[in-house]
Every structure is written in structure tokens, then in C-alpha cells.
């Protein structure tokens, strides 16, 4: 007899209690597994093909750049988990970068300057969340608009009374550039503290997301809003706090990038516009919400950074790297973020 739908299709099959590889490949760990395998494969190939790829120096620089991308992608991951996108991240990074450089040039003490920028970033994120709550489908455009406004405002503020536009010159305190520069040391060890900071933040975040009620609420909202509402989880509070965290981490990334480069430059955030989304997607967090996580994004960030370093080692320029990134996204998404066929959505 003809079945109305093909019962052997993956989308309609009942979950079985198969063990072993088949079960792992259907679980949430699939993304992590594929990502980790890709990372190991990339690293092996690169070490064979590029001289000095596995040297301590190169690994240090990969990790340093990964720390910046990782912190910038933190907010993007959280926002993607609840089904949104935050395109204001690169603009907040650029704005906080030049504003911090500007504050270092005034008599404001450095710790206070950092605090001001962090609060500003969180406030922008809060604004993003509140304004986009009612128009969640258009959140990416709204955050883009807020981002434009923020970066425009920050540049007007820092340019008034200065003849240089877009660049701010000031003295960055030595202890601050030690945190994020390639020659920085952590308690005498030969790696910049920002890598340790990134790991600490990552562990805290993953613990919070997996082990606390407020962390699980993010997945509940991303998975099914009606069900989450029945559990008395406030969608508004989760949505707004997620965007606030995104704004805060973007601002912190902008500050750390000032320590890395030593001079304020508003365009410093620009490469992060689509790279943060790429890191989230390559890691395996679905942009539809409800699955994935920061652990996956860390893998995604490392894959992108190892790949970048590999491509640079092979003599490819920025343009060619972008093409490879783009070509990488499609199969990764096809592996674990395909939506079911429309006939199974009814």
C-alpha cells in the first residue's frame, strides 16, 4: 500500500535506541565531532605543507587571533541560540576601540575608562534587545541600524577638535598592551594573558549555559517559545539579556584589540561582521535557534583561524581566504543545519 509520506525518510523516522556511531551522528554532538575532526585534519595537512606551521610562535599567534574572534563570536553564538542575529558587533568593536583610545588620551584613569566602555557596550546591547524584541524577524537589520548610528556617533565624538578622522592617537598603558599583544606574558609564561582570559570566559559561560536555570532558559526560548512560556520563562528578559551580553563582549573585544594594535582605528571591527557569523555556523550552531553552543563556536573559531593561517602560509591573500571561508560555510551548514522539507513542516 502507498504511504502518504515516505516513512523511511530521516525526518519522519521514529527515534531509535541505536548505540554507537549512528547515535552520536544524530545527536547534538555531531557538530562538535565533525568540527574537531576537521580541525585535526586541517592542522595536520597545514603542518606538512607549510614550514614552521606547528612552531610555538605560529600556534601562539593563531591562539591570540582566535581569542579575539572567540570573544567577538561569544555574543553572536548566544544570540543565534535564541534565533536572532547581532550585526552591530563589528561596529561596537570599532566604536569602543576608538573611544577607549580617546579616553586613554584624557586624564581619566585607565580602569575607569575600561569600565565606561564596558557599560557603554552593555547599554548598546540592551538597547538592541529592547528595540528588536517586537520585531525579532528583523533583528539583524535593527542591530545593523544601531551599529551604524553608534559608530557614526563615536567617530563624530572623537573627531571633534582633531584633524585626523577615523584614527585616534594616544598612549596605551604598558600593562594594558601586555594583555593583548603577541609578545605579552602571563605570570612570566610566554603567551599573552588574553588567551587565558578567553579560556576562563569560555569555561564560565559553558558552565553557566549548561548548569544553571537561566542558562538553560536560552535553549528553551530558542527551541520553542510557547513551551518556554509555559515553563514561566520570560522571553523578553532572555532576549534582552542575551543581546546585552553580546554588546558587552563586543565592547571588551574592541578594548582588547586596542591593546593588540596600540592605536585606535574604527575599521578594526569590520572583518568581524561576517566572520563571527561564519564561526558560529561552521561550529554547528543553527541560526534557527535552540541548538549548538559556545563549545561548538570555539571549534568553529579555531577552524577558521587555523585555516586562515594555513592559507596565508600557502601565499593566498585576504580575498582568496574570504572565498574559501564562503565555500566552507555551505557544506558545513548542509551537514547540520538543513531545514526539513516543507511537506514535513505541515
Amino acid at each position: 500500500m502507498d504511504q502518504p509520506i515516505d516513512i523511511n525518510r530521516k525526518e519522519v523516522r521514529m527515534p531509535t535506541n541505536k548505540t554507537g556511531l549512528a547515535r552520536v551522528l544524530r545527536s547534538d554532538a555531531k557538530g562538535l565531532l565533525i568540527g574537531a575532526a576537521l580541525l585535526v585534519a586541517l592542522f595536520t595537512v597545514a603542518s606538512i605543507l607549510v614550514d614552521g606551521f606547528a612552531s610555538a610562535n605560529n600556534i601562539r599567534s593563531i591562539l591570540l587571533l582566535a581569542a579575539f574572534l572567540g570573544l567577538a563570536s561569544l555574543g553572536q553564538t548566544m544570540v543565534a541560540t535564541i534565533g536572532g542575529l547581532d550585526l552591530s558587533i563589528p561596529f561596537v568593536i570599532g566604536a569602543s576601540n576608538i573611544l577607549l583610545a580617546y579616553l586613554f588620551g584624557t586624564s581619566v584613569p585607565a580602569p575607569l575608562a575600561l569600565l565606561i566602555i564596558a557599560v557603554m557596550g552593555a547599554a548598546i546591547g540592551f538597547l538592541n534587545g529592547v528595540l528588536s524584541y517586537k520585531i525579532q524577524g528583523q533583528a539583524l537589520i535593527l542591530t545593523l541600524g544601531v551599529g551604524f548610528a553608534v559608530v557614526g556617533g563615536a567617530q563624530i565624538f572623537t573627531t571633534l577638535g582633531s584633524q585626523y578622522s577615523g584614527t585616534v592617537f594616544s598612549q596605551v598603558p604598558a600593562w594594558f598592551s601586555n594583555i593583548a599583544s603577541i609578545s605579552g606574558t602571563t605570570f612570566g609564561l610566554q603567551f599573552p594573558p588574553v588567551i587565558a582570559i578567553w579560556m576562563l570566559v569560555a569555561f564560565t559561560l559553558i558552565y553557566w549555559i549548561n548548569r544553571t536555570k537561566s542558562g538553560r532558559a536560552i535553549y528553551a526560548i530558542g527551541g520553542n517559545r510557547t513551551a518556554a512560556a509555559r515553563l514561566r520563562i520570560s522571553e523578553f528578559r532572555t532576549w534582552v539579556s542575551t543581546y546585552t551580553i553580546s554588546g558587552l563582549t563586543a565592547a571588551i573585544t574592541g578594548c582588547l584589540l586596542l591593546g593588540f594594535s596600540g592605536g585606535g582605528f574604527v575599521g578594526v571591527g569590520d572583518p568581524y561582521l561576517f566572520t563571527t557569523v561564519a564561526a558560529v555556523v561552521v561550529g554547528g550552531t543553527s541560526l534557527l535557534g535552540g541548538s549548538g553552543g559556545y563549545g561548538a563556536t570555539i571549534i568553529g573559531v579555531l577552524v577558521l583561524q587555523v585555516l586562515t593561517s594555513f592559507l596565508v602560509g600557502m601565499g593566498l591573500n585576504y580575498a582568496a581566504q574570504q572565498t574559501v571561508f564562503g565555500l566552507l560555510i555551505l557544506p558545513m551548514v548542509a551537514l547540520y543545519a538543513r531545514s526539513p522539507h516543507i511537506r514535513y513542516q505541515i
Binding site: 535593527l142 545593523l144 551604524f148 553608534v150 578622522s165 534557527l288
Partner: protein, 318 residues
């Protein structure tokens, strides 16, 4: 019902009127014969880019074509490097190439969205990155020469220029397209894909059609851009992506799908051009670029919130 269907146009229309009056006061030369001809030439690529992404947005699934800018750039550099340098400069061939190349890319994008079933925004994001790189590989820095007849468009001294005819042709194509059943299918699919599918709409064909229309307009936009700059530029197109999306949203087309039209997108693009005109009439010196950025951002947020306020009561009543 007409007022209901056109209600999303009040915001962009108001913006254009206010900015138009400001421009008339601050920069009266804009509204002379030569001024208008120049304005038309400069604004045409953005207007056509905004028009191009409109059918994709109407087709729903949060579809916003991020790759539109690099696509226009791709057609621009390939006209210069592949056609012009090999002596292929006949207008019919160049027109056909531009439109076919853009349509081919849109078909590819649509095929990925439909058959691989990945969300449109990711497909177009990957497309953005791929084309951005490919453009720089084809032409590493701005240069080359456009076919002579195309480069001559860049004088911009005549109002009755090919650019005007292209814009008029684009509007004519759209308004004919709006009368077809296929357009209604696309709108229904954008508003509710499941309903469309269960009502027997061929959603595969409808999505391909939406992308095909986008390809036609993107090809025309690339021709106007090539005429404007008279050469090839691998990065100029990229900035068009964010500008076109801004114009689309200012024009009241919802990214949620099923609503909107090119009239709004055109008004949105004109409003953005007028902001630029008004701001450059003030002497902001070093910060004028930042003022433009700030105002674009505020306009975007404002347009979204106004659309929210004006549409909310009606959805509640329904």
C-alpha cells in the same frame, strides 16, 4: 483597500518629501536639469540594487540577499576584464551578458536554498564571501576601461539618458510582473509557505521566479554602475549590499516576507541619496561621512519602529 495596501509607503514618502524640501533649500542646484541628470546617474545603481532584493524579501523565509553587492561588482569587473578587453563591446552582447550572468548566479543561490534547504541568509552570506574574493582575483585593483558607449553614460549631463530608460524599463518589467499569477504565488509563499504549499502553489517554481527577477534587476544595476564609474572596481559593489538593505527596509518591505513592493524600495533609495545631498551641503568637514553613517543608522531604526507601530494594531484586530 488601496489605502491599506499602500499604507507602508507613508514613511518613505514622508522622508523623501522632507528631505527633498531640505535639499531644495540647501542645495538648489540638485533640482536643475543637469543636477537631476547627475542625481539620476549616481542614484541608479542603488535604486536598482534595492529593487533587485525586493522580490527575494517578498518571497519570505527571512530572505535578504547579502550577495547582491558583490554580484553587481562581479558583473562590473567581468564586463571590463572578460568582455571589453577581448573586444566584445556590442551593446546587445554586453546587455545580454550582464543580465544572464546575474540571473545565473541568482539561480545558483535559489537552487542551494531550495534543494540543499539551507536558510537564505546563510546561502547569500556564503555567496557574499565567495564573490567578494572572486572579484578581487579577477581584478585586483580598480582599473580597466568600460566599452565606450557605456563609459559615455558617466557624463551625466542629459536627463533623457540611457540610465533613465533603464530605470523606466525596470519599472515597466516590475509592474507587468506584478500582474502575473506568479507574483501572487510569491507573495502567498512569503506570507505563509505552508499555506501556499497546501494550496497547490509550486513553491519551487515561485522561489526560482523571485530570484530570476532579482537577477534581471541586478544585471541592470551592474550596467548602471559600470556606466557611472566607466571602469572596473572589485570593491565598489560590496558597499551596495548594506545600502540596498537599508533602502529596502526604509521602503517598508518586511523581511518577514509577503509584503512590500519596489515603489517603497525606490523611495527608500531616493531618501538615502537625498540624505547624502543634504549632508554634503552643510560644511561638516572631516565628520560629514560619519554624520551620513549616523543618520543612515537612525533612519533604519526609525523606519523599523514606525512600521511596528503602524502595523501592530491591524494584526491584533485580524
Amino acid at each position: 483597500m488601496l489605502s491599506n495596501r499602500l499604507s507602508h509607503l507613508w514613511v518613505p514618502l514622508g522622508l523623501v518629501l522632507i528631505l527633498g524640501i531640505m535639499a531644495a533649500v540647501r542645495a538648489p542646484q540638485t533640482f536643475t536639469y543637469v543636477g537631476l541628470a547627475g542625481a539620476l546617474l549616481v542614484a541608479a545603481p542603488l535604486i536598482l540594487a534595492a529593487v533587485a532584493i525586493t522580490p527575494i524579501a517578498i518571497a519570505g523565509r527571512g530572505g535578504v540577499d547579502l550577495s547582491i553587492g558583490p554580484l553587481i561588482g562581479f558583473v562590473n569587473v567581468t564586463i571590463v576584464v572578460w568582455l571589453s578587453e577581448n573586444g566584445i563591446t556590442h551593446p546587445i552582447l554586453v546587455f545580454a551578458y550582464a543580465i544572464l550572468a546575474a540571473c545565473a548566479w541568482q539561480m545558483l543561490l535559489a537552487a542551494f536554498i531550495i534543494f540543499v534547504r539551507i536558510s537564505p541568509i546563510i546561502a547569500s552570506l556564503a555567496g557574499f564571501m565567495i564573490l567578494q574574493g572572486v572579484n578581487l582575483v579577477i581584478l585586483s585593483r580598480p582599473g580597466g576601461v568600460a566599452p565606450e558607449w557605456l563609459g559615455n553614460w558617466g557624463w551625466g549631463t542629459e536627463l533623457l539618458s540611457p540610465v533613465l530608460y533603464i530605470l523606466l524599463a525596470a519599472f515597466a518589467i516590475w509592474f507587468l510582473f506584478q500582474r502575473t499569477a506568479m507574483f501572487q504565488h510569491i507573495r502567498l509563499m512569503g506570507a505563509d509557505e505552508r499555506t501556499a504549499y497546501t494550496s497547490g502553489v509550486d513553491i519551487i517554481k515561485a522561489r526560482f521566479a523571485a530570484h530570476l527577477m532579482a537577477g534581471v534587476f541586478a544585471g541592470l544595476a551592474a550596467l548602471c554602475l559600470t556606466g557611472l564609474i566607466g571602469s572596473g572596481d572589485p570593491t565598489q559593489g560590496n558597499t551596495l549590499t548594506l545600502q540596498a538593505i537599508t533602502a529596502l527596509v526604509l521602503g517598508g518591505t518586511s523581511l518577514a516576507g509577503g509584503k512590500g513592493g519596489i515603489t517603497g524600495s525606490v523611495l527608500g533609495a531616493v531618501a538615502m541619496y537625498l540624505v547624502f545631498v543634504v549632508l554634503s551641503s552643510f560644511n561638516f568637514g572631516a565628520i560629514s561621512g560619519f554624520m551620513t553613517q549616523l543618520l543612515y543608522g537612525l533612519m533604519l531604526v526609525f523606519a523599523l519602529l514606525v512600521a511596528l507601530v503602524t502595523t501592530a494594531p491591524r494584526t491584533r484586530a485580524a
